[in-house]
């Protein structure tokens, strides 16, 4: 199963993860 998030955010939004990284519920994915 997979979850796709699609969202609008300001230009200065940055992802805080890398491709292939394991994540857990509540872990930061990105921030402004």
């Amino acid at each position: 199963s997979t979850i796709v998030l699609v969202f609008e955010a300001p230009h200065d939004f940055e992802f805080a993860v890398s491709a292939g990284q394991k994540v857990k519920v509540g872990q930061m994915l990105g921030d402004l």
């Binding site: 199963s1 997979t2 979850i3 796709v4 998030l5 699609v6 969202f7 609008e8 955010a9 300001p10 230009h11 939004f13 992802f15 805080a16 993860v17 890398s18 491709a19 292939g20 990284q21 394991k22 994540v23 857990k24 519920v25 509540g26 872990q27 930061m28 994915l29 990105g30 921030d31 402004l32």
Partner: protein, 424 residues
């Protein structure tokens, strides 16, 4: 033949440079024209077809939905109590589950593998980070980035359409005609009729639960139906199986609306959304505001992962679109080989908004986990019905406007449990 094969000398000579260049141009042109070729149906929705190497077509010919249901049935069978701890420990060791964080910790209390798969976690097992966007699930980040020209990159060099993923009509196509019931018809929110409480504006008509006057002849009707109708439509698929048809699957509107307003206004403050931004029919296209980008991120849940999902941000879910589709595996192996994988598979697109604009979350099913549950939507039934009755690209839509009169949707705080994936 053997003699010719062994004794014929190989003579290499260069092709003319112009011929080589011409060949490259032709290859590039064909690649580009294939990538840009988009077929749309009469509603303006992109028609997506199975594309990939031969083994993908072989997998596509299998009865994946039936296999998924059989898999779900087998895994719902009750296991003998003595076997449960042994069986679940073997499963946990094979797939890397952490048994220390499950709730309840007593393995004999999980009657079947299906129950164990949909296990809960202990309170506090997943702290929520102080960031605007957090992970909705345990899993692995497959891909992320900025959406350009309405295309989401699946893997390097392969993209799929955002419009097809969310069921949005292409801008150059006529909008679908919504099917509605005149006796329940409501008009689009009139932006001129708003009041303000504690610095937050809200619609007077939403507050009072009265029909709104039409605004300058551009209103779009919104369907509101009784819960019984919603259930029928969702279960049988006869009343709302074509794209553009809508039902209201949210909690019936409370008659004592003023009592709920304070809660809604409080929630609006926490979510950070000004209710004046509400437009009832805002998802005929996704437009990015100036100064913003549209981003995407894909998270893959492996079989051993915790399979419930939580809200990744503070947002309001205004509607869901259930796309009946195939149930291919969504493993990274398949994602590399099957184009449009996430558009072909059965999925539930939850559409709404957060303080920065548009927000959506799309749980995509797979062969082993075809069932998707949404906690605040009891009418949703996935992995039922026949695939041939639901052409790719069509969906059943439900609106959650009754869940919160002020916010016009189901408000969710960061980390709230939203639902999950079940076996089969």
């Amino acid at each position: 033949l053997v003699e010719a094969w062994q004794n014929t000398p190989t003579k290499w000579y260069p092709l003319p440079v112009a011929a080589g260049a011409l060949l490259l141009i032709v290859i590039q042109y064909r690649r580009k024209s294939t990538a840009r070729e988009v077929v749309v149906d009469e509603h303006g929705h992109e028609v997506v077809k199975l594309k990939g190497p031969w083994h993908v077509h072989v997998i596509g010919a299998l009865p994946l939905r039936n296999l998924s249901r059989v898999w779900g049935y087998v895994n719902s069978l009750e296991l003998p109590v003595w076997f449960r701890p042994i069986g679940f420990r073997i499963y946990a060791a094979a797939f890397g589950c952490n048994l220390d964080e499950i709730d309840p910790p007593d393995l004999t209390q999980y009657a079947s593998l299906g129950e164990f798969f949909y296990r809960k976690l202990k309170d506090g097992a997943r702290p929520i980070a102080d960031a605007v966007l957090v992970s909705p699930a345990d899993g692995r980040v497959l891909h992320f980035g900025v959406i350009k020209d309405g295309r989401i990159e699946q893997v390097k060099g392969s993209t799929y359409s955002l419009d097809a993923l969310l069921g949005v009509a292409r801008p150059d196509s006529p909008a679908p005609t919504p099917v509605h019931f005149p006796e329940h018809e409501m008009s689009e929110v009139d932006h001129r009729h708003f009041a303000e409480i504690n610095g937050i504006e809200y619609s007077l008509h939403e507050l009072l639960g009265t029909p709104t006057p039409s605004s300058s002849g551009t209103s779009t009707p919104v369907v509101q139906s009784s819960p019984a109708h919603s259930e029928d439509a969702a279960h049988t698929g006869t009343a709302a199986k074509r794209s553009g048809e809508r039902i209201d699957a949210s909690v019936p509107r409370d008659q004592s609306i003023p009592e709920t307003v304070a809660q809604d206004v409080s929630m609006a403050t926490e979510v950070g959304i000004r209710p004046t931004a509400v437009r009832r029919d805002s998802f005929t296209s996704v437009r990015t505001k100036p100064g913003n980008n549209t981003y995407f991120i894909v998270i893959y849940l492996a079989p051993g992962d915790y399979h419930r999902f939580h809200s990744p941000a503070a947002w309001v879910v205004e509607r869901r679109r259930h796309f009946v589709g195939d149930l291919f595996s969504v493993s990274p192996w398949m994602a590399k080989r099957l184009e449009n994988l996430f558009v072909l598979n059965e999925r539930v697109a939850l559409l709404g908004r957060w303080k920065h604009g548009f927000f959506s979350m799309v749980p995509v099913g797979a062969t082993n986990v075809g069932s998707i549950k949404i906690n605040f939507d009891q009418t949703l039934r996935t992995n039922v019905g026949k695939r041939r009755d639901h052409p790719v690209g069509t969906f059943t839509e439900a609106v959650y406007s009754g869940a919160s009169p002020v916010l016009n949707g189901q408000p969710l705080m960061k980390g709230d449990e939203m639902g999950g994936f079940c076996l089969g």
